[in-house]
């Protein structure tokens, strides 16, 4: 079997195709990010995580500092345990608070970290004590309605 120019073209074609796949995997699918970074894991318990998903960003002051690694359900306290993978470049005090926030009105949910004032930094496997659950729209509306109803009762009571 001899080498021919067709071989070169086919080789270039296959290489180009594989490069396309690689581009999709790395640049579009982001296979590489955070996997090369050193990370440490922190746990946080929430009463309600709303629509938080695995791989959702963890932000502090709006900057992405990590990702949600795992969401579990604790069957003893009936709370959600969220494991956060934080980049080792960023250190946070031990009394950092975690909130579940929504980006924009209809955007995805993410975990927001607010640094505290403790001198001791978080280590791998630590648990965040201060957490605030996701805002559930239905609860918000029902609270609003109940408070309105309560106001109405008070007014009636005042008239009598």
């Amino acid at each position: 079997m001899k080498r021919s120019t067709i071989d070169a073209w086919v080789g270039a074609f296959v290489a180009l195709g594989l490069a396309g796949l690689l581009f999709l995997a790395l640049k579009v699918g982001n296979l590489a990010s955070f996997s090369t970074d050193q990370t440490y894991q922190v746990l946080a318990k929430f009463a309600n995580i709303g629509g938080l998903k695995v791989r959702a960003p963890v932000k502090s002051a709006g900057v992405v500092v990590g990702r949600v690694a795992e969401v579990r359900f604790d069957n003893e306290t009936y709370e959600a345990i969220v494991t956060l993978n934080l980049s080792a470049r960023f250190q946070f005090p031990k009394d950092t608070a975690a909130k579940i926030l929504t980006s924009g009105l209809l955007g995805e949910q993410y975990v927001g970290l607010e640094a505290g004032g403790d001198g001791v930094m978080l280590k791998n496997g630590d648990r965040l004590r201060l957490t605030q659950s996701a805002v559930v729209l239905e609860n918000l509306i029902s609270q609003f309605l109940f408070s309105k109803a309560a106001e109405g009762k008070d007014e009636k009571g005042a008239k009598k």
Binding site: M1, D7, V10, L16, G17, L21, K27
Partner: protein, 272 residues
């Protein structure tokens, strides 16, 4: 015959319908046996890989230009149209997600498959059909060379190998086209474009499933193309009819398979 007329017509019609149906089933069975025989006798195509490489050149390399240019334009149109819709909701940064997900999941494999069927599939059918019409296939059989192993199998495997690569290039080119429209032309923030895309495109869930789709389409199109060519009546009319059937059947097969695969891949469980 005045009274028996309509009844006879009806009977004749039913008979014709039955004959056509039986012939179709017969042909489907033959096509399935053909595929099995082809796969079992593709040892030559894999051992003498030069044969397959030559066919990859014709099916893959020569389809490259149409795939790349169509990908670019499809991506650019997606960018423009997606922006029109997304900016109403004030989320034009999600343009990257829209372009990437629709290309990687659907448009890449499907449109590349359709283009591949009409560019390469029709050529394969015409080539094999003409070889049959000019009795080259019969001559090979006479020389104790198995035409399926020597002629059909390399073309089949070339199609199966080329199709995923072409689909990946189509998607990559489309995302580049979407980027060209979104960032320099419209002025969407470059960081948001890429980061939102990277945050929501999953390598296994989206990209791998797209690749699986394109492999399935590659098998379907190549199978239909080589079978139509091999089964074509050895006349000029027969070959032209077979070429048309290749394009029609494989386009329909791609769209139908796409529905089935999408239903299996993207609606199962994860509740996105």
């Amino acid at each position: 015959m005045a009274e028996g007329g309509p009844v006879a017509d009806l009977r004749q019609g039913l008979e014709r319908l039955g004959r056509t149906f039986t012939a179709k089933i017969w042909r489907l069975g033959f096509a399935a046996r053909f595929l099995a025989y082809l796969v079992l006798h593709s040892g030559v195509a894999l051992r003498r890989f030069g044969l397959t490489i030559r066919e990859i050149y014709f099916a893959g390399v020569l389809s490259l230009i149409i795939i790349l240019i169509s990908g670019l334009f499809v991506g650019m149109v997606l960018g423009l149209q997606g922006y029109e819709t997304l900016q109403r909701y004030g989320s034009s940064e999600a343009l990257g997600i829209l372009v990437a997900l629709s290309l990687v999941r659907e448009l890449g494999p499907v449109v590349a498959g359709l283009l591949f069927a009409s560019r390469a599939g029709s050529a394969i059918t015409a080539e094999i059909g003409l070889m049959k019409a000019t009795e080259q296939i019969a001559a090979m059989e006479m020389m104790a060379v198995d035409p399926i192993a020597r002629v059909v199998a390399p073309r089949f495997w070339a199609g199966v190998i080329s199709m995923p690569l072409l689909a990946a290039l189509f998607s990559a080119m489309g995302i580049f086209g979407g980027y060209l429209v979104a960032v320099p032309l419209i002025g969407v923030d470059q960081g948001a474009f890429w980061s939102q895309m990277q945050a929501s495109v999953d390598v296994r869930e989206d990209i791998l499933n797209g690749v699986i789709k394109s492999i399935v389409f590659g098998i379907a199109v190549s199978w239909i193309a080589v079978f139509e060519g091999y089964d074509a009546p050895p006349t000029a009319e027969g070959v032209s009819g077979a070429t048309t059937r290749t394009v029609v059947t494989s386009s329909l097969a791609i769209l139908a398979l796409d529905f089935v695969l999408t239903a299996l891949m993207f609606t199962g469980g994860n509740g996105r």
